[in-house]
Every structure is written in structure tokens, then in C-alpha cells.
Amino acid sequence: MFESILIANRGEIACRVIRTAKELGIETIAVYHHVDRMAPHVKAADRSVELFGDTPTAAYLDIEQIIKVANKTKAQCLHPGYGFLSENAAFAEAVEKNNIVFVGPQPEVIKLMGDKIISREFARKAGIPIAPSVTQTDDLSNFLKEAEKIGFPLLIKASAGGGGKGMSIVREATTLEEQAKIAMSEAERYFADSRIYAELYVENPRHIEVQILGDGQGNIVHAYERECSIQRRFQKVIEESPAPALSVELRDQICAAAVDLASKAKYLNAGTVEFILSPDGSFYFLEMNTRLQVEHPVTEMVCSLDLVKAQLHIAAGKTLPYKQSEIKQSGHAIECRICCEEPHNDFRPATGDIKILSVPVANDIRFDSGIVQGQTISAAFDSMIGKLICFGEDRDAAIKNAIGALNDLVILGVSSNIDYLGQILKATDFKEMIIDTGFLEKNKATLLLEPLSEKDSSTVATIAALSLRDFKALALETPEPYASIGAWRNL
């Protein structure tokens, strides 16, 4: 095993990797930008080194600087987490060139899967089902003509894309050209690559993905599927495993397709193959993520695995830590992504100080986060600050557990989606497994919190008054009766 690891990331995923590395006795090295100097990942690591950059994000994206730190600290391996440089082939290459083990796949596989057009072509050749599509070459008018032939609705995506940027659904031929041009300019802006493609948009699709582990020689095991259909702006909000209302036959077919694809790519380390599942049971390859996923904990819970440990074992020794027959799904796990945002204000991101943080603790509840009480949530990074993952013997038990855990999770001082997540879990359609990627839009009205009753408003305002020094002082001016109720015992 390695003696030291550099974690080229921040927030909850850096904390997550540090936790397992420590269990394995590996010295942990964190990197951070000045704004993160008090962050939990910096405190959790054995050592930490400051990165400099024009913006905080730029610091975490600075390949040269991070490699320099890794060399200086004599890190034997480097874990990229997710986001930032995790799927940057040039970064993986630079790491390996410096004789540091990259905890992830081969740079050429990152490159292959990172390009949506090339990876789709690879999947097609491997015999994996893909949705009918057309790729934009130099001639835009030809692309528009070919796209129209597929029919509507169409989904337009950036070839180099991710995170919903440059993505849109086109329902009518009249708006195709305009939306294609918008997608191209967005693609250029975010990925410095304006190429786009259009594919048949599956109505009411589900998003199912498969966790795989590979040894780089073509040997692949899967750790079953995750359901990731509850999304806003093409970003996942709630994930679960196993996927509800999925027959064993269909699940096995999807897992087999994922293994097949990864095997043909001679995939190394942990990865995820994503599929779109149509209501008619047909499924199509969407993309492969060549890194650990945000939602990996639901798989860890139902399969009793430590995926970071598996990643480190593979990176160190090239043998798979598990046989396929040893990986079993048992029970049900649900992950809720905790974001600082205003869900009922178009998910507008929120910033502020976390004045109060209180987290539920139980064996079947896991809170993976990179936050502490007193921390400032700035606009510099993503709005996701943590994940609440809850286990149950079956789906109903997991939902019940998660509703209770959300109820007990308190974050005050900055707006969060905690109450909104609770509304999703309580929705009838969610309980009855009527789920697709349009869930949040379709259930918008149901997901609104009931307006407070007059009585509850009065109660809440009374509680607010109790928090005021002036109010307390007023109450204490009349000491006799006050003493009699024994109120404010410890204030």
C-alpha cells in the first residue's frame, strides 16, 4: 500500500478520501486555497499545502502547481476526487509522468470517455445500445437537416460537456437553429470546444447508472445500479440503490452492458456507466464517468463496500479486491444532496454563514460533508455542501429513515434545500416509484411547503422573540412570576 496520498480536491469528497486513507495508515496531504484555510479537509489531513490562484477555483485547477506540491511533499499517489481535474486526461498524464500513481483510469481512457461523440462511437462499436443521433461537423446547415430527420423532441448537447451546460431540449423545428447556436456558444464558453450533437430525446426517461471496478486488463466487476432520476437543471438531487421498479432481468442487462463497455475499454479503477432508460424498457448509453461519483455512498451502503479503499487497492496492486460473486446488494440506500440554495426561487444559489449545524447520528445514517459550524458558504464553489445517506431494510424503511434524518439535520444561517428534500421524499409519486427525470417539474406544486397557519406563524414569531435579548430583559423585569415558571434556566 502507499505511504502517502495527495488529495487534489476540497469539500466533502476530500474529507471522504482522507477518512479511508487514514484507516489504511496512509499519510494524507491536502491542498487548499486561502478561502478554504479553515475548511474541514485541511484540518482532517496530516499535512496541507496552500495553492494560489486568481480565483479559488483556478487554484484547484492549476495542474502545474498541484504537481509541484505533490513532488515536493513526495506524495506516492494522487486522488482527484470528482469535478475539478478528476476527468482531465492531461492532468492524469502529468501525474504519472512525475512517477506519482494517479488513482483513476488511464489518461487515454479518460480522453476517450471524456468526449461524448467519441465515447458514443466507441459504445456503438462495442455493441452497447445508443440513441439515434447526429454530430455537428463544420457545416451547421447540414447538421440541422440531419437533426430534423431524427425527429423531435431532440436533445442538444455539447460534445465536451457535462453538468448540463450547453444542453437543451428542442421540441419544434422552428427553434432548432436558434437553440443549436446557443448551445454552441455555451459549449465554446464553458469547454472551449463549440462542437455539439443532437440525439433523440427519450420522453419521461429514467437515469440509471452502474458502478464498475476494473483492473486495466479487461477484468471488470460491477457493484450494481443506482437510480439518479430526481434531477434539477440536469443535476442529480436524490439518488438511490437499488433502482426502484426495475425488473431483475432488466437490471442484469444494464449491468452486463456496463461491464461489457468497461471491459472493451480495459478500464482501470472505479468508474460509472450511465444509461437512459425509456418507459418501454429500452435503454441507451449516455456516458461514462471516469472517476468516483458524488453518489457512490449509496452503493457502499447496499453492497457493504468501501469504494475509496477499492480504488487505492487497485491503484497499488492492479488486482480487483472483489470477485463478482462476492458483491451482493442488500437493503436500500437513499442519498440526499444538501445544497445551499432557494429551491422555490428557481434553485437560486444562496450564500452566508453557517451559524448552526446539527447533524443526526445513527448507524444507518451517514453525513458526508465538508462543512463546520461557523463556516462561510461563498459563491466561489458549487452549492452542494454535503450529502445525507440513509439506509433501510427496504425502500419504505430507507425513505422513513431519510425523512427523519432530514428533520433532524439543522443548518441555520444560509438557505438550504433540506425542507425541499423532505417534501420530495414525502411525495406520493416518489413513494409509489413514479419516477423520471421530469419528476421535480411535474411535482412542483406538491413539493411546495404548505403555507404556515396563523397559529404556527404566531408560534414561530414567539420563538423568534424569545431569541432577542430585549425580549428576555423585558420578561425578567418582572422577576417574581418569571422565577415561578423556571424559564430560561440556563441562559
Binding site: 448552526i356 428533520n407 425542507d419 414561530v460 420563538i463 441562559l491
Partner: protein, 166 residues
């Protein structure tokens, strides 16, 4: 006359006054009586209350004029009106467009002297990887543009000011 504490909750005003302290705290909040018979501190900002004969665990925190309350599995943000200075209240005008949150300017769509209509996109900003369009709150003429593309700004920064049409 009991002193009144003024809040707003979900954009509605709500006034709280202490009526009596014996045998329990009796509070009048928007004409409704709330009785508090015990306030027990659990941790720094967590309290167990007996409120209208029911035991409830509540959390509260304050940030300037904002008071956050966690009650019955819901989080509420109240604004404490008495803490907002008179000048701030008077300064609420739609002549100055301020930033709700810190961010970076993606592009500006307007120049000084431009006539704009209610709802026109004046600038596009990015915050936490999300693009947000800032629209004109009314018809008017652009008086000042205080930011340029790629500039960063803090919360409450004055981005653009408007004046009346000639």
C-alpha cells in the same frame, strides 16, 4: 402599553408583545395568544420549550436583522424589523439595482443613456456556477453601470442605477 417586537415572516408583518409572565409567559402574536411555560437550553442555540402545553425542540440563530428558526422540521427566516435602520428602510428604491449575492459579471447588455423597459435583461451574472439574468425593475434610463464583464462583486454591491425618462 406593552412593547411590541416587529418581525416579518414569509413577507407578512407579525407583531409580538409580552402580555404577562405569570404563571406562564403569555405572548400575543398577531392577535393570537401563545403560552410558553418553559425555556430550557440544550446546547448553544438549541432549546426545549413547552409552548402551548407541547414540548418542542427548537433552534434559533441571528444574523443582523435576520432570525432563523427551526421549528417542527421546518426552517423559517424572519426579518426583525426593529433592527433594520431607518435609512435602510428608506433606501428601498428601484433606482439602484443591487446584487443579491456575490458573483462575477458574464456580460452587460446596457450602456449609460440606454432606455430600458420593465423586464429587460440588463446584465448576466454568474454565481456558484449558475447564470442569472438581472432584469430591469421598471421602465427608465440607465444612469450608471458600475461593473464590466468579468468583474467580481460582493453581496449588496450597487451594479446599475436607473433614472426617470426625460
Amino acid at each position: 402599553m406593552a412593547r411590541s417586537f416587529n418581525f416579518s415572516l414569509d413577507e407578512k408583518p407579525i407583531n409580538v408583545s409580552l402580555i404577562k409572565c405569570n404563571p406562564v409567559l403569555e405572548v400575543l402574536a398577531n392577535e393570537l395568544t401563545v403560552n410558553v411555560s418553559s425555556v430550557d437550553q440544550v446546547s448553544s442555540n438549541c432549546f426545549t420549550l413547552i409552548i402551548d402545553d407541547k414540548k418542542k425542540t427548537v433552534w434559533w440563530a441571528r444574523d443582523d436583522d435576520a432570525i432563523y428558526v427551526r421549528f417542527d422540521g421546518r426552517t423559517h427566516t424572519l426579518s426583525y424589523r426593529d433592527a433594520i435602520s431607518a435609512s435602510q428602510q428608506a433606501g428601498v428604491s428601484d433606482n439602484v439595482i443591487k446584487a443579491d449575492m456575490p458573483g462575477i459579471v458574464v456580460k452587460t447588455n446596457c450602456n449609460v443613456g440606454d432606455s430600458v423597459k420593465l423586464g429587460d435583461v440588463l446584465i448576466v451574472i454568474e454565481s456558484m456556477k449558475m447564470q442569472i439574468s438581472i432584469v430591469s425593475p421598471r421602465d427608465g434610463v440607465i444612469k450608471e453601470v458600475n461593473i464590466a464583464a468579468n468583474a467580481t462583486f460582493e453581496k449588496n454591491a450597487e451594479l446599475i442605477s436607473l433614472e426617470e425618462k426625460e
